[in-house]
């Protein structure tokens, strides 16, 4: 399971650190690629911009996507992922502070595989991260995409 890359799209460095810490606390050692905004995330996924030359056939096993992002926000990123044939089945988990029904409903309707609200209580956050890793990296069997 350790070779499965996780793409973490998060603009808040505190949250990035905490997330990595939570992965570590759960012994999730998979490589984590971080993107600080939507543009970076899409460049990585489609091998464009700074990521030109990267083989876009190689996709992360899981995308953890914040909604409130600079430049291109998370919902737009999700829409583009789902719009592209290569990435339309990519597991995307929305990981956000927002507890708005509106966001939740839109996220799911755009094809998010899961919606996880980041709890303030760090212990809960660590628990949630562990459950996410266990599910998406270990238990889930992704479809084969050519």
């Amino acid at each position: 399971m350790s070779d499965k890359t996780i793409l973490l799209v998060e603009d808040n460095p505190d949250d990035r650190t905490l997330t990595m810490h939570a992965f570590a606390s759960n012994r999730i050692a998979n490589p984590v690629v971080t993107a600080r905004d939507g543009v970076e995330a899409l460049d990585y996924l489609f091998g464009t911009g700074p990521h030109a030359g990267r083989d876009p056939q190689v996709l992360p096993a899981l995308v953890l996507l914040d909604l409130k992002l600079p430049r291109i926000d998370g919902l737009e990123v999700l829409r583009r992922i789902r719009a592209h044939p290569r990435t339309r089945l990519l597991p995307v988990v929305i990981l956000t502070s927002s507890n708005e029904d509106r966001d939740r409903i839109e996220g799911y309707s755009l094809g998010a595989n899961s919606y996880v609200r980041k709890p303030v209580d760090f212990d809960e956050f660590v628990r949630a991260a562990g459950q996410l890793g266990l599910y998406w990296l270990v238990l889930n069997t992704p479809p084969q995409v050519d």
Binding site: N12, D14, L18, L67, S98, N99, E100, P119, V120, F122
Partner: protein, 867 residues
């Protein structure tokens, strides 16, 4: 009357002409018969006249003939008795004396052409010839033997005293018939000596020419009356055709034309005529008169013999044509008379036909009129009765039978009183007597209060009209009865409707009017009718004043008025036009007009209209428009505020929590990774940092929830409160499984409200109850309801720590707390949220509590009603 009638229907010219012709022809027939009879009589009279003429003619002719025959018959005995003859017979005497006697006689008798004495052997002894120079004694040498001649032989054979009369025939000289013809009669008397010895014969040849001329001259050629002479065998001697006379002398016996050949029927009649007989007859239209003339001997001792004794027939004839010619004038005058009379009766025939046809037409008309009358009676929508002078019913039509419930034969002969209700009979009798005393047409309308009585005794309102009917049966009365029950009802309904409409017109709070509509001059337009509301609207004081005011003066704006009138003329109606009008006292107001043009029966246009004062409404509308504008502004502002709030909430939810997460997260990392480097106080402080961060997160969440409640739209529907409560209780039980807490939830509570908001409210109340019953053994929470007044009150009651009612007013304020957060953590936003939810439903929330005993929260939902 006949004339008037004839004219009225067009003159029946053909019928009258045909009838007149028939009459005229009949008259002509009668007249013709009369004239024919007259004509026949006239004809007979003419025939009689002609007959008399003919008879006279025959008398004359026969006299002439008889006289001519008598001369020789008298002369012969005279000659024979002469002394000279006696002496010659005695024998000694010469013949000279005889010759002298003959010569003497011949000189007196010019018609005696030959006088002769023959000896017994037929030889001439003396002969005297009549010559133009007088009698001539033929010399002895020229005397001839004539013994072979029939009259000599026959004469010599006669007995003594017998005169021989020959036939009337033509003279023959030397064996030839002498020409020109000399008709001749021969008489012969034999003379004898005293001893009886035969000695000779004396003859006279009598020439008939003079005689025949005499007879012929008797004829009357102007009247076409002829005189004919035929011998005993019917041979013509003097006849209608000269060439036939004496024809028998030349033809073989029986071949010569005879009288009988052409006049057979006459001959048959003449055969029967005896000697001397005369006769007359009309044969085949010809008139005949005749007489048979015989020679008669003079003296008693002379006898006649010979063919001449058969005698001759004198015949006169007037041919048919001559009779007709004589009657022709008569015919003409009669015909003229007939024609004149025929013409004279023609007008009479025309007049007769005219009157007869007229009378027949009158009769037909009368019959048709009677038939029409009967049909009319049958078809009339009214009951019609014919009453006689005594008021008895003579006839009822079908309607009468139907309405009164009698059959015609039951009614006939009965007094009409049976059809009158008893209470009205006195009046009826008075009415009847009045009518009889002065018969004229009377109409007693519905207002006379008359009624008819049916056979079953029921009544119905009637109109009655009485009219005298004068005919050959005397004076009768036609009573026409009309059932006016329906008419009554209709009139009443009409009056009521009129009253209603009048009241409506008068009471309408709208101004209603009718005005004339002159197309040329606006000033000519006048109000025709106005209702009180209109008078009040224009502050006219009285209807008269408003009626006197030209409508054109009531418009405040002439342009508006012109546009209105133009549209009205173009479309015929204008609806709901709002414009400015001015009252008679000069006040201008907003008015709303609806107008429609109509035409009356004479084609004049008029306008019906409604005017409403909408000043107040206009003002109100202006206010309303302003208010609406304000509302729009406020709504927009609210919208903006809501959007800002939403955006704010989102930011709060998202951005405020991130630092808190960092505070908590890093504190936790510190605690775990660097805890052994801190003393107990340091670790406690770290714990407080984390507590504060988490409390703040809870506060943020509660505040967001409160804000969501505040701005969310109510989406009402049925909400199963009991089910919701059970679900929430289960969730709370899971939160701390070891706690002993009893839930008492009233089943079947269903309220109408917003399910999501009610869940929030109930969740907060249950959460509080759960929180404040901590430590109770056992804790109890009741959720139920009861009815108070009209409202359904729900409650959540617990046996928890309760609170002091002195602070109850702070209970529902945000961030207000009545308990120690260390003992009972909380944000103080929950009840504020509950109050928002209940308030949104239009309900109330309140609490009752006692410290240490528990608390009860009550709420109503405004849209509910107690079941």
């Amino acid at each position: 009357m006949a004339d008037a009638g004839l004219m009225a229907e067009g003159y029946p010219l053909r019928a009258v002409a045909a009838r007149a012709l028939a009459f005229w022809l009949g008259a002509l027939l009668v007249l013709g018969a009369a004239f024919w009879t007259l004509d026949r009589r006239q004809h007979a009279a003419i025939q009689r006249t002609l007959g008399i003429q003919q008879r006279t003619l025959i008398e004359q002719a026969s006299g002439t003939l008889a006289a001519a025959l008598q001369l020789p018959l008298a002369d012969l005995p005279y000659l024979a008795d002469r002394p000279a003859v006696h002496r010659w017979l005695a024998g000694g005497e010469t013949l000279a004396g005889v010759a002298t006697d003959l010569l003497t006689l011949a000189r007196h008798r010019p018609d005696y052409v030959k006088l002769r004495l023959f000896d017994a052997g037929g030889r001439e002894l003396v002969r005297v010839n009549q010559t133009p120079d007088g009698p001539h004694l033929v010399p002895e040498s020229e005397l001839q033997d004539k013994a072979e001649r029939y009259f000599v032989r026959d004469g010599l054979e006669q007995p003594s005293g017998t005169i021989h009369v020959s036939r009337f025939d033509l003279n023959v000289e030397r064996g030839e018939i002498e020409r020109p013809f000399r008709p001749m009669l021969r008489f012969g008397l034999p003379v004898r000596a005293a001893d009886g010895a035969e000695r000779g014969l004396i003859t006279i040849n009598y020439s008939g020419n003079a005689l025949l001329d005499q007879l012929a001259q008797l004829a009357m050629p102007e009247a076409d009356i002829g005189v004919w002479l035929v011998d005993g065998e019917g041979h013509w001697l003097l006849g209608e055709r000269p060439e036939e006379a004496w024809a028998f002398e030349f033809a073989a016996s029986g071949e010569a034309a005879r009288f009988a050949d052409r006049h057979g029927p006459a001959w048959a009649l003449l055969q029967g005529a005896g000697p001397g007989a005369t006769g007359q007859a009309e044969i085949g239209g010809d008139l005949f008169a005749w007489r048979r003339v015989l020679p008669a001997a003079v003296g008693d001792h002379w006898r006649l013999s010979g063919p001449g004794t058969k005698g001759w027939l004198l015949i006169s004839r007037t041919p048919r044509q001559a009779v007709a010619a004589a009657a022709a004038g008569q015919h003409l005058s009669l015909l003229g008379g007939f024609a004149a009379l025929a013409l004279a009766v023609l007008p009479g025939a025309l007049a007769l036909a005219h009157f007869q046809i007229g009378r027949r037409q009158n009769l037909n008309r009368l019959r048709a009129s009677e038939a029409r009358f009967r049909d009319m009676l049958a078809a009339a929508p009214d009951a019609i009765l014919i009453l006689d002078e005594g008021g008895r019913i003579r006839l009822s039509n079908a309607r009468g039978e139907e309405w009164f419930g009698y059959r015609n034969e039951e009614l006939v002969g009965r007094s009409a009183e049976v059809l009158v209700p008893e209470r009205l009979r006195e009046r009826y009798r008075a009415l009847w007597e009045e009518h009889c005393s002065a018969p004229r047409v009377r109409l007693l309308g519905a207002d006379a209060g008359l009624a008819g009585r049916r056979r079953d005794g029921s009544e119905f309102a009637v109109e009655l009209s009485l009219a005298p009917l004068i005919n050959h049966e005397g004076v009768q009365v036609i009573a026409v009865v009309r059932d006016v029950t329906e008419k009554h009802a209709l009139e009443q309904a009409r009056e009521e409707a009129q009253t209603r409409y009048r009241q409506l017109f008068a009471n309408l709070p709208l101004g209603v009017f009718r005005s004339s509509l002159s197309e040329r001059l606006a000033d000519d337009r006048r109000f025709l009718e106005v209702n009180p509301a209109l008078v009040a609207l224009f502050e006219a004081g009285s209807a008269e004043r408003l009626l006197a005011c030209p409508p054109v003066q009531l418009y405040a704006d002439d342009q508006q008025r012109a546009a209105l009138v133009a549209e009205l003329f173009a479309l015929g109606a204008v609806t709901g036009r709002e414009l400015r009008m001015v009252t008679l006292s000069g006040r201008v107001f907003d008015a709303r007009l609806s107008l429609v043009t109509r035409r009356d029966d004479d084609g004049n246009r008029f306008v019906d209209g409604v005017i409403e004062d909408i000043s107040a409404r206009c003002a109100a509308e202006r206010d309303r428009d302003r208010a609406a504008e304000e509302v729009r502004h406020k709504a927009a502002a609210l919208e903006t505020a809501n959007r800002e709030l939403e955006s704010f909430s989102y930011s709060v939810s998202h951005d405020l929590r991130a630092p808190l997460r960092a505070v908590d997260g890093f504190s936790r990392i510190l605690e775990q990774g660097y805890g052994e480097r801190l003393d107990d106080s340091g670790r406690e402080y770290l714990g407080r940092v984390r507590c504060a961060a988490q409390h703040m997160a809870a506060l943020i969440d509660d505040l967001l929830r409160l804000a969501r409640v505040a701005r969310s739209e109510l989406q009402p529907g049925p909400v199963d409160l009991s089910g919701l409560a059970t679900e929430l209780a289960a969730t709370l039980d899971e939160r701390e499984p070891g706690r002993e807490l009893r839930w008492h939830i009233e089943p079947g509570l269903v309220a109408r409200g917003d399910a999501r908001l009610l869940r929030v409210a109930l969740d907060n109340l249950f959460d509080n109850a759960w929180k404040f019953t901590r430590g109770r053994q056992p804790g109890e929470v009741c959720f139920g309801s009861h009815v108070r007044g009209q409202a359904m009150v729900y409650y959540v009651r617990d046996n928890g720590v309760g609170f002091d009612m002195a602070y109850a007013d702070k209970l529902f304020g945000a961030f207000q707390r009545l308990h120690d957060p260390a003992e009972f953590p909380g944000t103080g936003v929950g009840l504020a949220t509950v109050q928002r939810v209940v308030g949104k439903h239009g309900g109330l929330v309140w609490a009752e509590a006692e410290v240490g005993k528990g608390a009860a929260f009550y709420f109503t939902l405004g849209m509910q009603e107690a079941a």
